[in-house]
């Protein structure tokens, strides 16, 4: 039988082990020194921007660099390219000069005389039975606007965007730029960055309405965590209001008014927010005010109109209310004195917005207006009211006059 302290020690160790294993499993590949700038934040480049392609060529960048080959020897077009769609991969004839093979424009390819010039040296999967058949090399179809020439003119070296390619064997999408690395220049103050503008569409494709195109064939682009803590994780729908309220211009990079209106105008129900039979469930939710009803609905318009039609109001048309039973708990519990734990005064104090979704001012004034103002004089004002009512009366006397006659001496204490 283990002692409690020993058991606790085992438990702590087990938790630590699980966290350590999970950290290793979830962390994924970590950034290496040869990776481009920004890889510390994003070890993997975005597969949506840089869709992965099979690379059927064996090419060892490190080995070629050791032989004093400059990047421009194989990629001369990179110095003048202005579009992402430009082909920057070397033509096979560039290889022929050293490897001894011959890749004519037309006609069969002739292998070199030495092992260096053998087809299988470079072409993965080459088979002697079909010597002229090799797998085609496909350039990465980057979903970006990239102008190599502009960068070259600014004397920006290849490694500043692609990392230390000279240290790797085969270059992969891992050598493609990371957004955080781009921002090293593009996010500098205007006076320092020159023409390296920081708008999203400087690099990203432009989509609907001139905004950034986020829906691409490989998936949907979403902001990383380091960009204003706007990572669209599984919980983002619940916390996005604070991000948007603080920096709505960041949201506007990708989202237009329609994206906000889709939910916040309260016309079309989003099942992620209002699941299942929401019409039956919403009363409990409204009392909990979760999610916040006023984020999308105006209670006295949206809610009350429907409640009037359904006869779920204290006042309203006679036919709609013809079958009306009692909505709230019995009057002895909910309305009349003495107050019970379920009295409406308590419910109103807890969440007045829920009351406003059914009741109009007239429903409440019937009892809460002063006796001279057409009510029963049940005072609804809370503590501290007298300290605030004077300023409010001067700015807008209308609510006071709903319950108090203009000559009511009580108003004098607010004047």
């Amino acid at each position: 039988m283990m002692r409690p302290s020993t058991r606790m020690l085992w438990l702590v160790c087990a938790i630590a082990l699980i966290v350590a294993v999970a950290s290793g499993a979830l962390a994924g590949p970590s950034a290496s020194a040869w990776m481009p700038p920004g890889a510390a934040q994003s070890p993997q480049p975005s597969p949506v921007i840089f869709p992965s392609r099979p690379i059927p060529i064996r090419f060892d960048h490190a080995r070629h660099t050791r032989m004093k080959q400059a990047c421009s020897h194989c990629h001369p077009a990179a110095l003048t390219s202005t579009r992402t769609s430009d082909r920057l991969l070397p033509r096979p004839t560039v290889c022929d000069a050293c490897h001894g093979a011959k890749h004519p424009e037309s006609g069969p390819v002739i292998a070199g005389a030495t092992a260096l010039g053998a087809c299988a040296t470079c072409h993965e999967g080459w088979q002697a039975e079909q010597p002229q058949a090799v797998r085609r090399m496909q350039a990465i179809d980057a979903k970006l606007r990239s102008n190599h020439a502009v960068h070259a003119r600014r004397k920006i070296g290849c490694g500043q965007c692609h990392g230390a390619v000279q240290q790797v064997g085969q270059a992969t999408t891992q050598n493609m730029p990371r957004m955080r690395g781009c921002q090293g220049c593009h996010d500098l103050p205007a006076e320092s960055r020159g023409d390296a503008r920081s708008e999203c569409t400087t690099c990203h494709l432009q989509g609907e309405g001139g905004r950034m195109q986020t829906h691409l064939p490989g998936g949907v682009l979403r902001p990383p965590r380091w960009l204003g803590q706007a990572e669209h994780g599984a919980d983002f729908a619940r916390r996005h209001a604070k991000v948007a309220g603080d920096n709505s211009r960041l949201c506007a990079s990708c989202h237009g008014e329609d994206d906000c209106a889709r939910c916040h105008d309260g016309r079309m129900r989003d099942r992620a927010v209002h699941p299942n039979d929401w019409l039956s469930m919403h009363a409990v939710s409204a009392r909990q005010n979760s999610p916040r009803c006023d984020a999308c609905h105006r209670a006295q318009s949206f809610c009350r109109t429907c409640h009037l039609r359904a006869g779920v109001t204290a006042s309203g048309s006679s036919l709609a209310r013809a079958q009306q039973g009692r909505f709230h708990p019995p009057a002895d519990v909910f309305t009349r004195a003495p107050k019970t734990a379920r009295h409406h005064a308590w419910e109103a104090q807890r969440n007045l917005s829920a009351c406003v979704s059914c009741h109009s001012e007239r429903d409440c004034a019937g009892c809460h207006a002063s006796r001279g103002g057409g009510g029963l004089g049940v005072n609804p004002h809370g503590p501290g009211f007298l300290s605030r009512c004077g300023l409010a009366l001067r700015r807008n006397p209308r609510p006071c006059l709903v319950c108090h006659d203009l000559s009511d001496p009580v108003l004098g204490s607010c004047r």
Partner: protein, 502 residues
């Protein structure tokens, strides 16, 4: 007679709408080398809604269509990167319910089902503005027309002009003036007014009929903001907004004698006046602190404040905590501001796990408490009492390419009832043409104030769609929910999205 007056008013509104929007639509001259996008969304749905008392049963036959226009590059052929940019954006909406009975919106002869302000096919201009950016050497932005504002004070809309200027020292100033969008006015909805009063078009209604339904009128507004821009580790924003009401508002509305005309308060008066601020402090590999507050100047109280702390212990893990305190405040015309009420406070802790690019998950839990004075009509000398709800959420999602699948679960329990349930969902675009979706959910809720309205409900949604092109999609959805309250509830929905570009 009254009905015909109502019809005339509706015609006048349509005419005014046409007059307002025609120049905007006519703006892009064909000779300009501008990019034009015309888009449309159509959604039709049918379902029934039964009153908790069994009758009436409302038949919803909803048809909503929006039509949008974006014209970019009006500045001309010689546009330069970083130079001035002029864009026109317009979207109009028809939101009809053909299930409405004629008597619900036209016939107020007793006995009736008439609901003031209800329209069968309201038509509104969601937004329509000219956006001029980077004027005056790139430091000035101007926007004219109906537009949205999103700031710490919430989501709001007005008709008018906004000017924004990026000043040196990473500070931007924003100022706007115009009229708040209000229900009952031409091409407008009440969505953006502060709550607490019932307003709309009273044309044709007798003054003593529904005196609490206040006439709508123009609401002058102005506001501004100061914010930082281009800063690396923080962002601050402070906003101010004031709106006035101008239309007469009924005052005494109870104990009226037969035929007595209710008194009304006329003249310009405060509708809302609020000041909000929010800030964000961020460090790459450490975390993020966000906080904000809104002060209601009219009610002389902080109507909300919040703070959020996020820590990044690992690249795949974010742990955070949110605190939020909220007191409802209303339009200054409303009596509800002055009814005793207390804040609602929520505190949660959460963790978000980005397990891979494709899989993420979140879990959160916390408490929410609502407050009351021990004696609602007393002087609060007895101190406040609290009711606490326990809340929890969890979700996991797999997103790959053009598809997603996942599950989410929630729980909210307290003395006033509970809600708890789980949703499973999946959607995918197949061969870039066919869209399929499925969702199923099981929820249980209990209303302690009305136990007869408690239920356990199962529901599912099946949908399929087709994309003839990248900018066009048609979708059909079938929803079925079953529980003891409604028996079976069905909803059919058809979507059509289209876009044409030039």
């Amino acid at each position: 007679m009254l009905a015909s007056r109502g019809l005339c008013a509706a015609r006048r509104k349509w005419a005014a709408g046409a007059l307002l929007t025609a120049p905007l639509i006519a703006c892009p001259a064909p000779s300009l080398a501008a990019d034009v996008e015309v888009s449309s969304t159509t959604a039709a749905q049918g379902y029934s809604l039964r009153s908790p008392y069994g009758d009436p049963v409302l038949s919803r036959r909803r048809f909503m269509q929006t039509l949008g226009l974006v014209v970019r590059g009006i500045e001309g052929e010689d546009r330069k990167p970083g130079g001035p940019e002029i864009t026109v954006r317009i979207r109009m909406r028809l939101d009809a319910d053909f299930g409405l009975g004629w008597g619900e919106y036209h016939d107020w002869t007793p006995p009736n089902r008439f609901v003031p302000g209800l329209q069968q096919a309201p038509f509104d201009l969601m937004y329509g503005y000219v956006d001029m950016r980077r004027l005056a050497g790139g430091v000035l932005d101007v926007r004219l027309g109906r537009q949205y504002v999103i700031d710490p004070l919430g989501w709001w809309s007005f008709d008018g002009a906004m000017i924004r200027s990026q000043l040196p020292f990473k500070v931007a100033l924003e100022s706007y003036t115009g009229f708040e969008q209000r229900g009952g006015l031409a091409l407008s909805t009440p969505r953006f007014e502060r709550d607490g009063v019932w307003r709309g078009d009273r044309t044709g209604l007798e003054p003593s009929y529904y005196p609490e339904f206040l006439p709508s009128g123009y609401a002058p507004a102005w506001g501004g903001a100061v914010e930082t821009w281009g800063t690396k580790h923080f962002n601050l924003r402070a906003s101010y907004r004031k709106v006035w009401s101008s239309a007469p508002a009924t005052t005494r509305m109870t104990a009226l004698a037969a035929g007595e005309v209710p008194q009304a308060w006329t003249g310009m008066r405060t509708s809302t006046e609020r000041l909000g601020a929010s800030g964000n402090l961020y460090f790459d590999d450490l975390g993020d602190l966000r906080a904000g507050a809104v002060y209601d100047v009219y009610s002389s109280l902080f109507s909300s404040y919040y703070a959020t702390l996020d820590l990044f212990p690992a690249r795949w893990l974010t742990v955070g905590s949110d605190a939020d305190r909220f007191v409802p405040t209303f339009d200054a015309d409303s009596i509800f501001n002055w009814f005793s009420h207390y804040p609602m406070t929520t505190w949660t802790g959460r963790a978000e796990l980005a397990m891979s690019r494709a899989v993420d998950a979140s879990v959160s839990g916390g408490v929410r408490w609502v407050e009351t004075s021990t004696d609602p009509e007393g002087d609060d000398s007895g101190g406040r009492s609290h009711l606490t709800d326990v809340i929890g959420r969890a979700g996991v999602r797999h997103r790959a390419g053009t598809g997603a699948a996942g599950a989410s679960a929630m729980l909210e329990r307290g003395e006033r009832g509970h809600r708890q349930g789980i949703d499973l969902f999946a959607n995918r675009l197949l061969q870039e043409r066919w869209h399929v979706l499925a969702r199923t959910s099981l929820y249980d809720w209990k209303d302690e104030l009305r136990p007869d309205r408690s239920a356990t409900s199962f529901g599912y949604v099946l949908g399929g769609g087709y994309r003839p092109g990248p900018l066009t999609q048609v979708m059909l959805e079938w929803e079925h929910n079953t529980n003891r309250l409604v028996g079976q509830r069905f909803r059919v929905m058809v979507w059509l999205q289209m876009m044409v570009t030039r």
